[in-house]
């Protein structure tokens, strides 16, 4: 609590807290609050103020509680804030607990009939007759519940000083093409705003003021960004099976494919999408397509990854390109399907029985969900192997402010594929012969019209000619070459992002969605006079930069969102001589990690 109070103290400027607080809306799943929350978030974004939105939702279609948190931060910090400053307590199931969890001085906007002022007297209450206002907004009983959501948007807008024009613009955008919905929601927002203006006396310190920190920015979630990566990587075969939190990746992509990848002249598709019967089939299809020469991928989450283990080992051993997105959720087993985690790292790294090591890309921002998706396809085809992209629910499904995604600056790399002409010129082809000494062999695709082109792909032991072999030396040579290929990958995978503080003796290593919390935590640590260097891992296998970073520091905190310090352990295996330097900070509640959690953990050790 001490540290939270410190955070609060820094925000207040002459009794006003401007552009630095968080709003939490507690509603019921399936009640339509998502649209209202998007409108609210976007309106603030359009005022040039940095925002982020996190949806904490249950594994349920309708009826269970859900919370949406909007963090407004003038410095651009977008990690989860632990403290709620303004609560909109619409859900009677959770209202009492929600109010009790507030800190003193917070604000609570609630339906008047919940009588929440009786629960807490040390916070500011704004009690609103939502039912009456909804009844005034429409005579259709069915719609009243939905409109309640837009009424609270109007109330908040009036209390915080959100520009009415921005609310209107956001509503028009949110319900684009649905004239009736636009009209109704405009009325509802206006009802809320007018009522608040006439009936509420501002009795809190939270305000928004226009800035210019969002111009040129977009709002996007990581799954949509990854989908765009697939679109611009030229993916042609999409094999998927629905699973939270990855489904929206393929669903969004399908919409884009329909719009941008239909041949204008013939009306025919330059892509194929199949919703498989399960993840076992999804990965089989992706490998079949990759083997036949298409850019294929599948998208899943933890349980799907477990099911894909056998085929992934096949792809590694027989050297077939494909891309597998794992939008991580909390495991093991069904776990918490709608909560975030980074606990699939270790199991994915060596997924399958036998000796396997996979190339894994670790996007830390929504921009990287896009750019690393593009790169994953090039790496898969260059290295002729399944390549994983490990994102998570926080990145994948939450709304993030981002820079405009850049157009790919490199041509597509299809890797070492021989054509009939190549075969004619070479006069020889052995599928698993390491001609170039980098561990990567040449392949042909089915349909290549040359007597030398064909080979037999098998998950059993094979020699350089792809013939069945149980000879010890053939197996050893194959496994050594696969390792050589993996070593080659160190030079091709994205390098870590480095931020060295010359004064620092302490460092942080992190990856994935922890990034935003680390950035903010380093600022907090700087204020606490503890400079720290930072290295963000973007891929496995590790690259040389990791060793250099670890060597120059006394102590390193590896921050990750799992219980078992999975990345820390992998680094220890990589750099055993530095094992004792590496300490672990693990966050695994299912909620996104916060800056304060990291700061407190490090100060606890270093302070």
């Amino acid at each position: 609590m001490k540290t939270l109070a410190q955070d609060s103290a820094q925000k207040v400027d002459k009794g006003r807290v401007i552009n630095d607080f968080s709003i939490q809306v507690a509603t019921v799943n399936g009640s339509g609050s998502q649209s209202s929350n998007s409108v609210l978030m976007r309106s603030i974004f359009q005022m040039g103020i940095p925002v982020s939105g996190k949806n904490l939702f249950p594994s349920n279609i309708a009826g269970l509680p859900t919370w949406f948190t909007i963090r407004i931060n003038k410095d651009g910090w977008v990690a989860r804030a632990e403290q709620v400053d303004i609560l909109v307590a619409i859900n009677p199931q959770t209202a009492h607990d929600d109010v009790k969890s507030l800190t003193a001085g917070a604000v609570c906007i609630s339906p008047i009939d919940l009588k929440l002022d009786a629960v807490r007297s040390d916070i500011t209450h704004y009690q609103v007759p939502f039912s009456e206002l909804a009844a005034e907004a429409t005579d259709q009983v069915k719609l009243r519940k939905l409109l309640t959501n837009m009424i609270y948007v109007g109330v908040i807008a009036e209390l915080l000083g959100i520009d009415q024009n921005e609310i209107e613009t956001s509503i028009r955008r949110q319900f684009e093409g649905k004239g009736k919905a636009i009209d109704l929601n405009l009325v509802a927002a206006s009802k809320g705003q007018q009522w608040a203006k006439a009936n509420l006396k501002k009795d809190d310190c939270f305000y928004v003021e226009r800035m210019n920190k969002t111009s040129g920015k977009i709002i996007i979630d990581g799954n949509e960004a990854a989908a765009l990566g697939c679109l611009f990587a030229g993916a042609t075969v999409v094999c998927w099976y629905p699973i939270t939190p990855s489904s929206s990746l393929c669903e969004t992509l399908i919409e884009y494919l329909k719009k941008y990848r239909i041949d204008k002249k013939t009306g025919k598709a330059t892509f194929a999408v199949v919703q498989a019967e399960d993840e076992l089939a999804a990965i089989g299809m992706a490998l079949g397509a990759g083997w036949a020469g298409a850019r294929s991928f599948t998208s899943t989450s933890g349980p799907g990854i477990s099911l894909m283990a056998e085929f992934t080992g096949y792809g590694y051993f027989t050297e077939i390109p494909t891309v597998i997105f794992d939008v991580q959720r909390v495991g093991p087993s069904t776990g918490l399907p709608t909560r975030t985690s980074q606990a699939d790292l270790l199991s994915t790294y060596c997924l399958s029985h036998g000796d396997t090591k996979h190339i894994i890309l670790l996007p830390g921002t929504v921009e990287e969900c896009y750019s690393l998706a593009v790169q994953a396809f090039d790496l898969a085809e260059r290295f002729q192997t399944p390549v994983f992209v490990l994102s998570d629910l926080d990145l994948g499904m939450n709304h993030w402010m981002a820079d405009r995604l850049p157009y790919p600056d490199k041509p597509i790399d299809r890797g070492k594929v021989l054509t009939a002409q190549d075969l004619e010129r070479l006069g020889k082809f052995e599928r698993y012969h390491d001609v170039d000494g980098d561990g990567i062999c040449y392949r042909t695709t089915p349909g290549t019209n040359h007597p030398l082109a064909a080979y037999f792909t098998r998950g059993s032991g094979h020699n350089e000619k792809a013939q069945y072999s149980e000879r010890p030396e053939d197996y050893e040579n194959l496994m050594k070459r696969l390792d050589r290929k993996y070593q080659t990958a160190r030079k091709y995978v994205p390098k870590p992002e480095l931020d060295i503080d010359r004064q620092a003796r302490v460092g942080i290593i992190a990856y994935g969605s922890s990034h935003c919390a680390i950035l903010e935590s380093r600022s907090q640590l700087r204020n606490a006079k503890l400079p720290v260097s930072y290295l963000r891992i973007k891929a496995l296998p590790f690259t040389e930069e990791l060793r250099q970073f670890v060597e120059r520091l006394d102590r390193i905190y590896v921050v990750e969102q799992n219980r078992d310090a999975q990345l820390r352990d992998l680094i220890r295996l990589e750099l055993p001589e530095h094992a004792m330097k590496l300490q672990s900070i693990c966050h695994f509640s299912g909620l996104p990690i916060s800056a304060r959690f990291v700061t407190d953990a490090i100060l606890g050790e270093e302070g």
Binding site: G216, I218, F232, A233, G234, A235, T236, V237, Y256, Y260, R261, D263, T266, A269, T270, F271, A272, V274, A276, E277, D278, L280, A281, A282, I283, G284, M285, A286, L287, G288, A289, G290, W291, A292, G293, A294, S296, F311, Y314, R404, Y407, P408, P411, I412, T444, T445, P446, G447, N449, P451, A453, A454, Y455, F456, T457, R458, G459, S460, Q467, Y468
Partner: protein
């Protein structure tokens, strides 16, 4: 015995086929299966059918799962790409291949263990999707490679060599395929090469999933007295539904039949299957009758072979995908990566 056929010189065959290849060009590596294995007989008929049809080997892909039968793609069409996948998952691989390159002719070889147990789900779904491929089940009622355990197609009451009696009812893959609206379903016998080769040729002309359930005896673990998948049992009990002949699209129909004695089924590519009536008056275009006939045969312990069901009108998977003519695998960057203007448009919509 039939199984030695693949090793016999084929001197009576024409020297080359219509694309100038010899039958040897359609062979693969030497089989490592047991002498007399039914699977080798099926392999021989695949070689013969593809050779006689003059199919370009490079246009073919051979796929399989795991088990004795799944080894056989190595033994035919050495000039075609092969994919020996994981247990029971060949259908998903074939589905992926079909999307990447719809111009390939896919031959999948599976067994009763690979299809009727671990792969039953994928079998159902490839049939349901009507992915264009020839799906051959080399059905011997036992797991050979693990030394003779019952499979899910073993008949009720059939006996293992050890004397163990099967007390579970069999899964009839043909009945299941018809139930799932499969567009080409046939049952044959490795010891009936004439019928098998005609069915193989017909399935190569079919655009959709062709399921061929071929009783292919295991000489080592299931060819004894008390087995219902032995050469002797199948020979003694086989009842062909009709006498089959196949006329490829590039040949004229020359044989004259008495009116009413032959059903002529025209295939997608203009080829014909001629079904000469035998004792039974069987119409393979009648799905409900096909199911009833199979049920009745089960009840009466009959082993019916022939073309059980055909529907040339059912659209196949890749046609439903409405793909561009060029295989997706070969599309150039200019086609698959939208221009920068598209990204700009999307970015503007997200601002």
């Amino acid at each position: 015995m039939v199984a030695t056929q693949s090793n016999q010189p084929l001197s009576s065959e024409p020297h080359t086929n219509r694309i100038g290849l010899t039958q040897a060009d359609y062979k693969g590596a030497v089989s490592t299966l047991c002498d007399g294995c039914g699977h080798d007989a099926v392999t021989s008929q695949i070689i013969k059918a593809f050779y006689e049809l003059g199919i370009e080997p490079h246009r073919v892909t051979k796929l399989s799962g795991i088990g004795c039968s799944s080894k056989t793609p190595a033994y035919f069409l050495g000039r075609a790409h092969g994919f020996n996948s994981v247990h029971g998952r060949m259908p998903s691989v074939a589905t992926g291949v079909s999307m990447a390159n719809q111009q390939l002719l896919q031959v999948g070889i599976s067994g009763d263990g690979d299809t009727a147990s671990i792969g039953l789900g994928q079998f159902c779904h490839i049939v349901r999707r009507n992915v264009p491929m020839i799906y051959i089940v080399e059905n011997n009622g036992v797991y050979g490679l693990t030394k003779g355990q019952f499979s899910a197609t073993a008949d009720l009451g059939s006996k293992l060599k050890t004397g163990v009696v099967n007390d579970l009812p069999p899964i009839d893959l043909c009945g299941l395929a018809i139930e799932l609206n499969c567009s080409f379903v046939a049952r044959s016998f490795a010891g009936d090469p004439k019928q098998l080769v005609s069915l193989l040729k017909a399935s190569a002309s079919h655009k959709g999933t062709s399921v061929l359930d071929v009783i292919s005896p295991c000489v080592t673990f299931n060819n004894h007295e008390g087995s219902t998948k032995s050469y002797k049992y199948a020979k003694d009990h086989e009842i062909p539904l009709h006498e089959l002949s196949y006329v490829p699209f590039y040949e004229q129909i020359t044989v004259d039949y008495e009116p009413g004695t032959v059903q002529d089924v025209e295939m997608h590519d203009g080829s014909h299957i001629m079904l000469k009536k035998l004792g039974l008056d069987y119409d393979p275009s009648n799905r409900i009758n096909a199911l009833m006939t199979l049920q009745k045969a089960h009840a009466e312990g009959q082993f019916l072979t022939g073309l059980l069901y055909i529907d040339e009108s059912k659209p196949d998977f890749t046609t439903l995908m409405n793909l561009v003519d060029e295989p997706l695998a070969h599309l150039p960057e200019g086609v698959v990566r939208p221009p920068k203007a598209v990204l700009d448009e999307i970015m503007n919509s997200l601002m």
